[in-house]
Amino acid sequence: MKGNSMIQLLTRGLLLVVLALTACGPAAAPTSAPPAQPPPAQPTQPPQVVVVTATPAPGRSTLVVALARAPLSIDPADHRSRESETVIRDMYDGLVTRDTTSGVHMELAESTQWLDPKTLEIKLRKGVKFHDGSEMKADDVVFTYNRVIKENAIEYPQAHTSPRKGLISPLVSIDKKDDYTVVMNFSGAWPAAMQMLVHQQIVSKAYVEKNGTKGLIEKPMGTGPFKFVSTKTGFEEVVLERFDDYYGGAPDLQPVGKACVTRAVFRVIPETSTRIAALLAGEVDIISEVPPELVNTLKQVPTVQVKTVAGTRPLWMEMNVKQAPFDDVKVRQALNYAVDKNLIIKKVYNGLAQPLGGPLMPINNFADPNLKPYPYDKDKALALLKEAGWTPGADGVLAKGGQKFTFVIDTLDATRSLAEAIASLYRDIGIDATVRIWEYSVVQPKLLAGERQAYVGDWGDSAFDPIGHMEAKWSTYVKGSTYGRGNFSGYSNKRVDELILAGETENDVAKRHAIYNEAQKLIYDEAPAVFLVLPEAIEAASSRVQNWGPASDSRENLHDVCLK
């Protein structure tokens, strides 16, 4: 979305300026005397003015959430987008759910038990009702999972396989034991099973068989806290209503019971400035994807609350390890030392990010806490570069054998400012780095073919488990396979590959930690990437909204939210 993001950038800037310019309302307090000392200049801070007051429509009992993008589908088995999941999970519950801080909890499942490393028995909660009043039983669970794992199980608009199959690929079959017990059979030990079951929501067998997939999309029906009411123009608006017979949700997660608000609406407002304007105008109550540079301004508005949570999209600058100068590990390490992550967090992310200490994001359950982020150390970077043969030339640019150290950092428009900040830090130590902006679909094949030099980009890790992430990002690239699908540095280490494979089937948590710790340390030391930052997800809401908070995996848990 290059053009689009450019516009967003300009309009955000505009929003800041206009908010500041129109700040001459009655809110401005007269100053009696000039301050004794002028405050220090803060060139990068947005104007510190209270401008507008959000005015909620009086007595509105409907909760309105503004999303940046429309869900692509609202069939729990037929999508691969976060926005879809965001909306789906307020209408449908899964066997288990996840809380940002406390991990996996039972939802429609009452308990789970591993009969052996490949077999999982799941006891279902009794008396759970679908929105049509029928009871959820083992048949529904079996049907739901078969719809995902069986090939061509979804018949509309043409027979096709669920795009969510890959999320639970080790699941071979699922059997009903009795009305309230199912057994899942996996192809091998699969330690990430519980984390991955979070992403599958249960549909009613009878309902889907009667109405088909088309009927399910047109009128979704699940066991979740909200019933579907209506939708407009390709899910640009989805209206939900409280399900009064809701079983209460995960018993471990407070509050338990039916939802607090009676009606909830998801609306799509793609433009950031408009989302914020709609919040300030009182048209919506919660907005997603607030850019970090607007956080300070929004915090000044008394009727708006801003909350953040660690996101799940870590960022790296991957270097093409098969090409000079990045084929030298010392150069790669030097480039890690040369980036001042704290400065970047402060200036680019307005303090709302954390540094990465290696290939996994710090909130991944298997991130090695002993790996500390490469510290910012210019001298060490220069020393390492000198060892690698790079010394400053007459013009201050590092050179080796008459060849200047110059390279291009490729990135997408969304991470332009990050890449530019890094490039300027490199120029600071005599490396001539420039930034080039691409569209992802164009640059991705070039990166996999090893045709580029360096790439600043992110990779989602919403399962909080190394599975799916380590294999895509850090194992050797095998064409057409899932291994190395996102490995843009060309990094390949036999031992790391072995460890990644071993980790996928090791059920013993301690051993699994040991496996991943070794892999992380190897990657950390060999540094195929400059480990950058994990930005926070930022959302804002009107102060009427209570018991609300953003989730790392973009879920909008409207069940808990109340309106004042």
Binding site: K232, Y440, S441, Q444
Partner: protein
């Protein structure tokens, strides 16, 4: 006779639509980027088999000529294929969003004509007056103001500051409306739904002004210059000499002839408005076609892009036809 000619012209749009679609078919496949890779996103687990199945499902594993043959074969039968990313028939996706785009286009056109016609006429009649100079300066401003900028300013002023108009969307969620044509204003009138009519009109105002500003400026300038030319012509002098009032001279003798080039420009602008309002749709969260098409280009959602281009080609040809028909009314000497 005229009806036959119009029908002929409508029928010629069919090969044009297909021609354009075939060109787009090849252009989209020439651009780098694999739709299946993009579909799987940057994150999460995928299996090899899954990727294989997706290629099979969308016939991406077949040679290009076979894919083209499938596309043409289905298109002739009215099936434009399925969107890769949205898993929905392309025709459904287009028809559910086209009304929003048409409504916005009509709104913008109305705004631009209301603004441009009086300005164009008056500034020609009173050439070099203060009114002429200031309105032409305004027209320059209208042309140079980018849509996203004007849109945000209007939102901040009328939605956030004054609370007069809504910032986004087509209809408030609490308003019920039975959809018939998908044009909400028209549907509200058809179903005698006053609250919906008021609400949908309120939602239409800001996007229409934003989109219409640039067009108004263009129309005003074209109308002014053609009016100036016509006003100097002999038949206008004759009309004056006959003692016709200034009103009759300007509105009947001059305007009618000055409208011919103006209508051409308006016709072209309608095509531009239908195809190019992605920015305004984004700013106002307007669920139209433009946004989906741009998304589908980035997602390499080939069938959706092809379908949308066919719609655009059709509307362009159709508006040109309407313009040609209008000529014959404005100047009976012109035939189709």
């Amino acid at each position: 006779m005229k009806a036959v000619k119009i029908l002929e012209r409508v029928l010629t749009t069919i090969p044009i639509m297909f021609g354009v679609a075939i060109i787009v078919f090849f252009f989209m496949r020439l651009t780098p980027g694999d739709p299946v890779d993009i579909m799987m996103g940057r994150g999460g687990a995928v299996t090899e088999r899954e990727i294989e199945l997706l290629r099979e499902q969308f016939n991406l594993d077949k040679p290009l000529q076979v894919q083209l043959w499938y596309f043409l074969r289905d298109a002739v039968q009215g099936n434009l294929g399925y969107s890769y990313v949205r898993n929905k028939p392309v025709l459904d996706l287009l028809t559910e969003r086209l009304p929003a785009t048409i409504e916005l286009t009509l709104g913008a056109l109305l705004v631009s004509l209301i603004v441009a016609l009086p300005i164009g006429i008056l500034s020609a009649v009173r050439q070099n007056s203060f009114l002429d100079r200031s309105s032409m300066a305004g027209a320059f401003l209208g042309i140079s103001m980018p849509g996203f900028w004007l849109g945000i300013i209007l939102i901040l002023l009328f939605a956030v500051r004054l609370h007069w108009l809504p910032a986004q969307g087509r209809l408030s969620y609490e308003i019920q409306l039975q959809e018939i044509t998908g044009l909400y204003v028209l549907d509200s009138i058809l179903t005698h739904n006053m609250p919906a009519l008021q609400d949908s009109l309120k939602h239409l105002v800001l996007p229409s002004i934003t989109l219409g500003a640039g067009v108004a400026a263009i129309i005003a300038r074209v109308l002014r210059s053609s009016m100036l030319e016509v006003l100097r012509s002999d038949y206008v002098k004759l009309a004056r000499a006959k003692g016709a009032t200034e009103w009759v001279v300007v509105m009947k003798h001059a305007l009618r002839n000055a409208l011919i080039p103006t209508v051409t420009v308006v016709g072209l602008q309608v095509g531009v408005l239908l195809g190019g309002n992605m920015i305004v749709e984004t700013v106002f969260g307007w669920p139209g076609l433009g946004r989906v098409v741009v998304d589908s280009i980035f997602n390499r959602d080939f069938p959706l892009v092809q379908g949308a281009v066919m719609v655009y080609a059709f509307t362009f040809v159709l508006t040109n036809l309407v313009v040609d028909v209008l000529y014959t009314y404005l100047n009976p000497k012109i035939t189709l």
